[in-house]
Amino acid sequence: MQNVVERVLNLLIYLLESPVPVTSNDVRNTVHGYADQTDEAFHRMFERDKQVLRRIGVPIKLEALDPWEIDEGYTVDPEEYAIGDPGLTKEERVALSVAARLVRLGGTEAGVGAVIKLGGLEQGAGIEPLAADLGEGADTLGELFGAIAERRRVEFVYRGHVRPVEPYGIAHRRGHWYLVGNSPDGERMYRVDRISELVVDERRGAFDKPKGFDIKAVIDAQPWETGADPVIKATVRFDEAVAWWAARSLGVDEPGGELTADVDVANRDAFIGWVLSFGESAEVLAPEQLRLAVADRVVATLGQVS
């Protein structure tokens, strides 16, 4: 690893400092660490080192060296290389440093890599009795975020089908990461851990997000609020023992005693499931067709247990 670290640093300095793009032969003959290799070994090393630089975030570009585009060379533009200054105050740096260490993503501290690049960890005050785990982080998550920020189209395999998607946003909700984007069938939500074979298109700014798109509004919806059913208004009564608990899910004030609430339902199956999860402590009062559907579900369940 020691040799790799030295060679990659030397390569980066060469690419940053060279006034014109350099060919792989230039690299081989100039940068310390590549000499005395067979052709095959050199190419393997060079590919791997470029990969390391890209994973660090170094934008390596391949440019034509002549107007006929016969030869191509590598270059790193110092301005593109450099991190931008987000203009953080001392207090903001401290707050971000503390947050970076409290939250885990994919088994590691989620924000520490970024904080190091932004000038290192500020020492926060005392211990924080707070921690959070945002579940599995995958390379996919970072790639999707990059595609969203640069408005690039993506394509991936999901439940056995190839999906072309214009990615609008990602969100963490109830323990999972979701991608929201525009597919040929309209706006859809995909669970990120079920996405495989992701390909991000080269072109930036390839589509426009709908005006006013807000991932939070998409993600905050309860399961019965998003569906293809015509919206109906349902009235439900909850016993005192569970009323406060139901009120929190419905986003209404917590009642002192029992709760009767009107709910807009766009997904009847999801709504019936939710009401039945309260057992005998909840009852749909209206409309009658929904009461019949609840009764049907109960009858069906009785058939499944006998």
């Binding site: 993503l105 609008y168 991932i215």
Partner: protein, 309 residues
């Protein structure tokens, strides 16, 4: 193979150099704290920087890097005047961390403005594209976090997840954490005389008491999940593909699996949770074994039908 360790090590070197260059010298302890170095790691990285530089690699071409008493000195490295820009994964990690702490309801204004500035810098035309929803409908996360920090006993009215019953108890909160999209408090429960984890959204009411407690020197790693116990109610259920989400929300044992169905064993302290789950799932689940659960579902179903018919 390029290991993540190689990438992280070079990334840290490329952040260290501009930080020291800008100040010409920095105290060794500060460098170690700020960049998370041990002394041996720092020495090794400075030695590495010292042998790298411009092609030619003669004395005038190499960077200078060394420790002078308790100062770190780096020079002749102008090409590394700035750290490399953030990768999307790094930016996402820090933004998500900030948003999670904000979701705890007690974030400082500095964190909110810091996250806003960072989001603007990394995705200028992609605002409102990232959300971290760790639900705290109760607004109690901040109160419990403060109680844990101040080592104060808290009286709670709690609706148990495992038993669907409401109890009152005094707890000594050790830490507050989020996992699987929900907030939990870990601590000593005086009612059971043992360590317990509580879902914060299931705390109906709470009151921070005057009484204090001593937090144990080593607070255990937070974790959730039901630990099966003797005397548990056990049942076996077949799930259809549409009901497979159950595997992610309940601590179940998968007995067998094929394309059509998943057979699970479900442990719980009473019949209430599996009975309600079965009602919720309807034809997407089938009870295979478990007479107590069968009796409870039948009873619950008949009570419900008497209301609906």
């Amino acid at each position: 193979m390029t290991s993540q360790r190689t990438v992280s090590r070079i990334s840290r070197i490329l952040a260290l150099i501009p930080y020291v260059l800008e100040r010409s010298t920095v105290n060794v302890d500060e460098v170690m704290e700020r960049f998370g170095y041990t002394e041996a790691q720092l020495t090794r990285d400075l030695d590495t920087i010292f042998v790298c530089g411009l092609p030619g690699y003669g004395p005038g071409d190499l960077m200078e890097a060394y420790m002078d008493e308790d100062e770190v000195v780096i020079d002749a490295a102008e090409f590394f005047g700035k750290a490399p820009r953030l990768t999307p994964a790094e930016a996402l990690g820090l933004l998500a961390a900030g948003m999670t702490v904000i979701a705890s309801g007690e974030a400082s204004p500095a964190l909110e403005s810091g996250v806003r500035k960072l989001a603007k810098a990394v995705m200028p035309d992609a605002d409102a594209s990232l959300a971290v929803d760790v639900i705290d409908d109760s607004r109690n996360v901040g109160v419990l976090r403060d109680a844990a920090a101040d080592e104060r006993v808290v009286h709670i009215t709690y609706r148990s997840v495992a038993k669907e019953e409401t109890t009152e108890r005094d707890i000594e909160p050790w830490s507050v954490f989020a996992t699987l999209g929900r907030w939990y408090v870990l601590g000593h429960c005086r009612l059971v005389g043992d360590q317990r984890t509580f879902r914060i959204d299931r705390i109906k009411e709470l009151k921070v008491l005057e009484e204090g407690f001593d937090r144990p020197a080593n607070v255990p790693e937070p974790g959730v999940g039901y630990v099966p116990q003797t005397g548990d109610i056990v049942c076996v259920i077949d799930l259809s593909p549409a009901a497979k989400w159950v595997l992610e929300y309940y601590p179940v044992e998968v007995l067998s699996e094929d394309s059509g169905r998943t057979r699970i064993r479900f442990h719980s302290p009473d019949t209430e949770v599996p009975a309600r789950l079965l009602l919720r799932l309807g034809t997407d689940a089938r009870l295979i074994e478990g007479d107590e659960v069968r009796a409870r579902v039948t009873d619950m179903g008949e009570t419900l039908l008497s209301k609906y018919r």
